[in-house]
Amino acid sequence: MLRFIVRRLIQMIGVVVVLSLLLFMWFKALPGGTVSAMLGERATPERRVQLEQALGLDQPLWVQYWSYIKRIATGQFGPSNGVLPGRDAFEVFLSRFPATIELATLAILLAVLIGIPLGYFAARRRDSWVDNLSVMGSLIGVAVPVFFLAFMLKHWFAVELQWLPVSGRQDPALDATRVTGFFVLDGILTQEWDAAWDAFRHLLLPAFALASIPFAVIFRITRASVLDVVEEDYVRTANAKGLTSRIIRGRHILRNALLPVVTTIGLQTGALLAGAVLTERVFSFTGIGQALAIAIELKDYPVLQVLIMAAAAVYVVVNLLVDITYAIIDPRIRTR
């Protein structure tokens, strides 16, 4: 098991190296090259020359790449020129990151907690009304553009019914204490229960909108996979041996049926981060998604670069965890 994890870690480093190479080339390929990308188009010629020398752009490519690696390894991505002008791009990322983690965690929790039980239930009662209805629901969930769903949720539940807040992360009038940047967690830690509850209410609408896609995928995969597994010989054997349905369900059906689901959850991290860009923009939720949307609009490339790197890092780490989980529940994987 340890060997498996170490091997996956080494592979992960390979991914990060290739990624940094791609980002390096991407930064060079931007219109106007690295200097314009970092200073914006209105920079004075003196500043440009200064930065060109500071970055060693007169050096050969591999030297530039090496100094680039050294800079990003220490978090020096350059100053933001759009989202929070003057602040370091990495700082922008750090201040925005907890919000998105909070949002994405709630969204994936909603998707898993509704998707897996519903998928199992629908598969075991195939062609019942529950099955047909939830299959239809999951199909519509995939078909609706996430930002349109966000618009509609906001329109109904926040503007028309006024059940939930329209935008933002927390009512500023509460003047809540900040500890970790995770507003719900902050409220619990400082025992400001109203602040935690308010932050949670702000999370709900964007999280539901964001959960629509992973929910639909997780539900479909679970259902299809359970349908496959219940036909297997070992399930028939387990039935014939007279095992209780609880053991058959847990050990024989779910344990095998959830293998593809686990991989799917890992793959959904990317969709979740992309969806966050759209959802956060609709709800003016100040996470990295909203920062990214602004960075695109204002061509704030240093921030864009940090966010791409961060999104990739989150994805890679989540999938490493998924692979380890996979190896725990399916021993066959370890030997490959």
Binding site: P145, E231, A312, N319
Partner: protein, 347 residues
């Protein structure tokens, strides 16, 4: 069991037997009741001469039996009907539209402050957009660009993914490792963010950058799916049987492993047709869609409606409904296709 003197015929029979074997190992649940299977298919009637033959080998191809069941499947028919109407609309749209989608007949009614969106009126049942163009005509014509974006992006992703996935799954070893590292890196950048990067390099977004961005995003998913199911099959009984019978490696890959791996790929392809259209809308929403809106596209119309959505929600709702219905059509069709092509659900 004496070998036929005609070598070609002998080869064919061996092939048939392996194919039948491949299908029964693929469908563990139905293997025990071959008679029931072929009876329920409504296909060849079981005779005494058929006794002992393996189900699925009755000269009825997978495609033929899939089609037999699809014809009567209401889900498939609904999806196919939606897709058919969509494709027809994409072809004839410009001729049935009452107005030129690029002309601005209602421009004189647009007032920036008091009346940014002209309302419904005789000749313009849905009213106009912010620059006085007929909304209905734009919806009718918009399907064509939407179809082009969806199909081209899916084809691009499918082609790339099939190549990479088959290479990795069939060859294994260092090829597999290399391909999977590339796939991992591509997967590790979320789709929309990858699209953003591509658009940033292209200096100005266009229809082509939208298509390329969406296609590239799909490649690793196809590749990973295909590679996963091919790896699982390499260890399975039907591949072992085929190898034991001396079937050539490339024939094992293309006749036994690839067809059996296509199920999830087909599901994915239909989902991608739908998501490609939706993602194009997402790119427009972020300001990275095709800025040239003389040729309307539903995703672009939806993306451009964002600033007016609270006061004039119909500007967003109409194109969104079009996208939802079409995406649903593709998904319904693909889902029923998957069930029909899957030997396990032959019943």
């Amino acid at each position: 069991m004496t070998p036929s003197p005609d070598p070609r015929r002998f080869g064919d029979r061996k092939k048939d037997r392996i194919d039948a074997l491949a299908q029964t190992t693929g469908s563990a649940g139905s293997a025990g009741r071959p008679g029931v299977d072929s009876g329920a298919q409504g296909g060849a009637v079981l005779t005494v001469a058929d006794a002992g033959r393996v189900a699925g080998g009755e000269g009825q191809s997978l495609i033929a039996s899939a089609w037999r069941r699809l014809r009567r499947n209401p889900v498939f028919l609904t999806g196919a009907a939606i897709t058919f109407i969509f494709v027809v609309l994409a072809i004839v749209g410009p001729w049935v539209a009452p107005h030129d989608p690029a002309a601005q007949p209602l421009l004189n009614q647009v007032r920036q402050q008091t009346n940014p969106v002209p309302g419904a009126q005789p000749g313009f049942p849905l009213g106009g957009d912010t620059v006085g163009r007929d909304l209905l005509s734009r919806l009718l014509v918009g399907g064509r660009q939407t179809l082009i974006v969806g199909v081209l992006a899916t084809l691009g992703g499918l082609l790339g993914g099939l190549t990479l996935g088959t290479l990795a799954g069939a060859l294994g070893g260092w090829v597999d490792a290399l391909v999977m590292r590339i796939v991992d890196v591509m997967l590790s950048i979320p789709g929309l963010i990858l699209a953003v990067s591509i658009a940033a390099i292209a200096a100005s977004p266009s229809q082509t950058t939208v298509i390329v961005a969406i296609a590239v995003v799909q490649i690793p998913i196809f590749a990973r799916l295909l590679r996963g199911s091919m790896l699982a099959q390499r260890a399975s009984d039907h591949v072992l049987a085929a190898r034991a019978l001396g079937v050539k490696p490339h024939a094992i890959v293309f006749r036994h492993m690839l067809p059996n791996s296509l199920g999830p790929v087909i599901v994915q392809a239909t989902l991608v047709l739908a998501t490609a259209i939706i993602e194009a809308a997402g790119l427009s929403f972020l300001g990275l869609g095709n800025p040239d809106d003389r040729q309307p596209e539903w995703g672009q119309m939806l993306g451009q409606a964002q600033n007016l959505v609270s006061d004039y929600p119909h500007l967003a709702i109409y194109p969104a409904l079009c996208i939802i219905v079409v995406a649903l059509g593709f998904t319904l069709m693909g889902e029923s296709l998957r069930e029909a092509l899957d030997p396990k659900s032959r019943r």
